[in-house]
């Protein structure tokens, strides 16, 4: 069996895309990867809405922009965003990055992605782990897209607040009742227009792993 660690470790969130369409067979593969994600009790609560219509993508992009921008503007005003990006020393670059964030443009890219897939979960027919199942499906989609040479990004923004989640449902004609479907995110997909030069640094395993019990850092000798 092949080791997919290279696919996992080279994947990055891609937010800029060429306008070229994503072929149908690739869309099918991405959806197929999602369908095989682990799911509690094999309930498979996920449903996928494939969106290519530019007008719908514009509406979703606008919703995401307003959602992220409304939060990040407030965080900037409280000084929290400046702390988050304090590692950027060049003041001009830092100001531009911060503006990109608090304007909400950071989440607007559904407008420019040739393909957007909304991931929603049924709360009605047998469901116990909907957010977790959906998250696993999204990860499968991201890995499959990357393995096909596509770029993708998981965007929670337009579904982050209760009011925005309702607007998101209305755009896609999803029943809006709180007991019907959970909207967790959309995944934007396209041919990458950017090569991310600096992958975000990851914490080392040493920082993340305990052995046998919480807090125990030394690796036991299992002989």
């Amino acid at each position: 069996m092949g080791d997919i660690i290279d696919i996992i470790t080279t994947r990055k969130s891609i937010r800029r895309y060429k306008p070229d369409p994503v072929p149908d067979e690739m869309i099918d593969k991405i959806l197929e990867a999602a369908r095989w994600a682990p799911t509690g009790e094999n309930y498979q609560p996920w449903r996928f809405i494939v969106i290519r219509d530019p007008e719908t993508r514009n509406k979703i992009g606008r919703l995401a922009k307003i959602g992220s921008g409304s939060r990040m503007t407030a965080w900037y005003c409280l000084g929290e965003m400046q702390e988050r990006f304090e590692k950027i020393k060049d003041p001009v670059k830092k100001a531009e990055v911060l503006r990109f964030m608090y304007s909400g443009e950071v989440s607007e890219f559904a407008k420019h992605a040739p393909l957007v897939i909304a991931v929603i979960g049924s709360l009605k027919e047998g469901s116990v782990d909907v957010p977790y199942d959906l998250s696993a499906a999204i990860e499968n989609m991201l890995l499959e897209a990357h393995s096909l040479g596509l770029g993708a990004c998981w965007v929670h923004g337009p579904a982050a607040t209760t009011r925005d989640a309702k607007k998101f449902k209305e755009i896609l004609k999803i029943p809006t009742g709180m007991g019907e479907y959970k909207v967790i995110a959309y995944v934007a997909i396209g041919w990458p227009k950017e090569q991310r030069k600096h992958p975000r640094p990851k914490k080392s395993l040493e920082d993340l792993v305990f052995w046998e019990e919480y807090g125990r850092k030394e690796r036991p000798n299992y002989g």
Binding site: R62, I66, G67, R71, T73, L78, G79, Y102, A160, T161
Partner: protein, 160 residues
């Protein structure tokens, strides 16, 4: 039985649970908590001060909060509310004691809801909830966006 205490205790457990499930973004999901009360009132007003003042009138008359003031600043984006002796204060104190930073202010949600419902504000966001159990005072700072153009209108709230 103290019915207020009973209801606050139930809210504490629900808030703990929601935070445990969702971590920080739990605070983004709770904007409708509290709005039923204010939606049952016929709040009038054509401007933010008018609507806010009328909400405060209903809230204090009903005894949900004893004293309440507001100010708008930050280029029209910041709404600060100061509340003394809120019915929900014991909930916030208990939550804080249990190690969860208070994140649901039903009273603030009421006012933000009416800015959206009555004045068609684009969106709002509760940015900060702070409580002082000694003075029995709560302060919230929210971002209020009249329209899309107000998103990204930044200023330094610490200087106000």
């Amino acid at each position: 039985m103290d019915e207020i205490e009973y209801c606050n205790d139930i809210m504490v457990r629900l808030e703990e649970l929601l935070f445990h499930e969702l971590s920080g973004c739990a605070a983004w999901k709770v904007e409708l908590i509290g709005v039923d009360f204010i939606q049952s009132k016929d709040i009038k007003g054509n401007t933010p001060p008018g609507v806010i003042q009328n909400c405060i009138q209903e809230i204090t008359t009903a005894g949900l909060v004893k004293e309440m003031t507001y100010s708008i600043g930050g280029r029209g984006v910041k709404l600060e509310l100061i509340m003394r002796d809120c019915l929900h204060l014991p909930k916030e104190v208990k939550l804080k004691k249990d190690g969860v930073k208070p994140y649901i202010c039903p009273i603030t949600n009421m006012i933000l809801d009416q800015l959206i419902e009555k004045l068609n504000f684009e969106t709002t966001f509760v940015a900060e909830v702070s409580i002082d159990e000694k003075s029995r005072e709560c302060k919230t700072r929210s971002a209020i966006y009249e329209d899309e153009a107000k998103i990204g209108l930044v200023s330094d709230w610490s200087e106000e």
